[in-house]
Symmetry: C2
Subunit: 403 residues, 2 copies
């Protein structure tokens, strides 16, 4: 009998009515004669409420107690789901991470699952039971509860699918899959049926609404195919899988775009080894995330221009940090607050020449000026004026036959 | 170093501010150089909210899942308390029942603690740490979470005090102790400094606001002295202890009275073996609680009059059940809806003759008619008209020098 791992996110179990609904989904898999393992997140809002309480008690709440605290959210939702499944006549029980057990290593609040002992779960599955397992948590070698970071329930599902050798792993969430581009921005956006792990990773800005990049990475490392589906509407989802399985001949899988970016150019920086590090160190210390970085080759070898992008919100702080930075000297700072990054993503571009040209040509045909270019093996990103984003997405969506 | 067990009830940890307050109380014990073990209930309201959710999912929610569900309340409060203690600079950690472990037997929702392995707690105490232990719960031999009924946190405190050989066990609650009679009814009521277990048990109507009779029984069986104190105001509480320790020369410790009682008399019941059982069986089946029972000796040996008291709310149902009862025959049913039970309680009456007389004499002096009398070794109860209750409590309070 095939084993399927079903994971439900916070909004999917966000109310008593939602729990009734997902129990009908679970029931539909039992009716298909599958062995079902359920993983649940905390009911949406619950974890945030607990965190709020902890902050009121300490601005530096003890990490181990934080984990003991927030892990209760999943224990509640799993008991409620299992109680409901029993009510519907199914054999079911909740399993807290110490009962499975799910073994983790690493620090509190950021632990990693390194082993799941599935013996008892398998025994229970063979008896026809539905185990409902707490996501997001485990225990460490001191037998204390650990959590594996926000969205860690996805990681639990992936690791459980691995250790229990599941035939399927389905992540139920509040969106119905990954789209070729943001459907709210561009009407012709289509749901992607199948996407490779690396494409999904590069499409963070699209994909993060669906799955955290770390979870995609987990799935990739463990070679677990994941189906992302909505628990709200009955629609086919998106399959996230490995290179080994050929998906299609599509060159470009999706187009992502960012909002609220800002471009900074430091003109006439005295070039010496380590100057980039000197510029970025204070930014990093202040948790300012630098995205694209381009260093222009200057004709004067002793000076260079450095351009990078950050989030708009960080602009003032960044300006101040550069001005205060005594380790660098430069002629001028220039800013552009209204820029966006548009990226085309697809593993197909590795084997298909001319993609860069086609992208630039398509943008040029709409008179869209490219400010910065950055490329990886499966992604090409350009920085353009924010006012052109919609037009750029549309022309690229059409150019790469995603319409 | 002396070990003190401090237990905090739901209202005592009912908010973030309350948790800050009780952490100051805990701190005051540490400053007195004591080894402190903390037991906490769930924040007030939390358990009821979880129960409400379970009822919305099933009118017959699975008991094991119910326990997994409601046990999270204490896990939250303990993590919050421990987090706060860490913030204040103390070494502290929360211990869930499976981590201690607290071993229980018996059915879910009504389990009993039969062993607590205190080795790790003791080790932690010796290192100067403050363990904060979840009340109300344990694990069974299947390694599943069990709960020990409402107010079970008191039982946890008592059993932990026993196994850890604590020098003191203090129950912090929202009342500041046990009074000689209800202070709202009678102004001259005084807080009792020391009370024997059995007196406390007999004073259920006064004492239940402070401690559940089952917890008093637990304390008695394990010979653990308990101090009941308020966590809201800094006042001396009431010590509940054993016969072995002589408290004082007080004969009567307290006076309790009931509200909403009703008296039923079945007149001219055909007397035969088992007739009382025939009358009370259907009442018991319908969860009607019968309190005082008196059977008058009839001159006609084949007939008897049976009087008993119940709660007013159950009167109609009781009348119906007696009328429908085909196993008994009687002449007439009579009811009195406005009656109350007034009791004097004290271990001193065992060795002091004439207490009954003094009670009846005091009531007679105020022209209070006694309807039914019932006595135990340490308690004398009389049923009187409800309108005389205040007057009765006052005269008895004075008579037995409690004013």
């Amino acid at each position: 009998m095939k084993i399927v791992v079903l994971k439900f996110g916070g909004t999917s179990v966000g109310s008593v009515d939602r729990i009734k609904k997902i129990c009908r989904i679970i029931s539909s898999f039992k009716k298909k004669k599958k062995q079902v393992v359920v993983i649940s997140s905390a009911m949406s809002g619950v974890t945030n409420d607990l965190i709020k309480k902890s902050k009121l008690l300490s601005n530096n709440f003890n990490n181990a107690e934080y984990d003991a605290l927030v892990s209760t959210g999943e224990q509640v939702s799993c008991a409620l789901i299992s109680g409901r499944l029993n009510h519907l006549g199914y054999k079911s029980r909740s399993w807290q991470s110490w009962q499975v057990p799910i073994l983790t290593e690493g620090p509190y609040t950021k632990a990693r699952i390194n082993k799941i002992i599935v013996k008892n779960l398998l025994k229970y599955l063979k008896l026809g039971g539905i185990p409902v397992v707490t996501g997001f948590q485990g225990i460490n070698d001191k037998l204390r509860i650990t959590t594996i970071g926000r969205s860690g329930s996805d990681a639990t599902a992936i690791m459980l699918a691995k250790f229990i050798k599941a035939d399927e792993c389905i992540i139920f969430t509040d969106v119905d899959g990954v789209y070729t581009t943001d459907p709210r921005q561009y009407k012709k956006a289509k749901k992607i049926k199948k996407i490779f792990y690396d494409e999904m990773l590069e499409m963070a800005s699209l994909g993060s609404k669906v799955m955290q990049p770390t979870s995609v990475q987990d799935a990739k490392l463990n070679n677990i195919d994941i189906k992302v589906k909505s628990s709200f509407v009955s629609k086919s989802g998106t399959l996230i899988g490995s290179y080994k399985k050929s998906f299609s001949n599509q060159i470009i899988t999706g187009i992502s775009s960012t909002k609220n970016d800002a471009k900074i150019t430091i003109i006439g920086v005295k070039d010496r080894p380590g100057v980039a590090a000197s510029i970025f160190k204070p930014l990093s210390k202040n948790l300012i995330n630098v995205d694209m970085v381009v260093q222009n080759i200057s004709s004067d070898t002793r000076e260079t221009d450095l351009t990078f992008t950050i989030k708009n919100d960080d602009l003032k702080k960044t300006e101040k940090l550069i001005n205060q930075n005594k380790k660098i000297s430069y002629k001028k700072l220039s800013f552009d607050k209204d820029v966006s990054k548009v990226s085309i993503i697809g593993v197909g571009m590795i084997t298909t020449p001319g993609i860069t040209y086609r992208m630039f040509q398509a943008l040029a045909s709409k008179k869209i000026n490219i400010l910065v270019i950055s490329t990886s093996e499966i992604k090409i990103s350009v920085l353009i004026s924010s006012k052109h984003v919609k037009k750029a997405v549309a022309v690229l969506h059409k150019e790469f036959k995603l319409d």
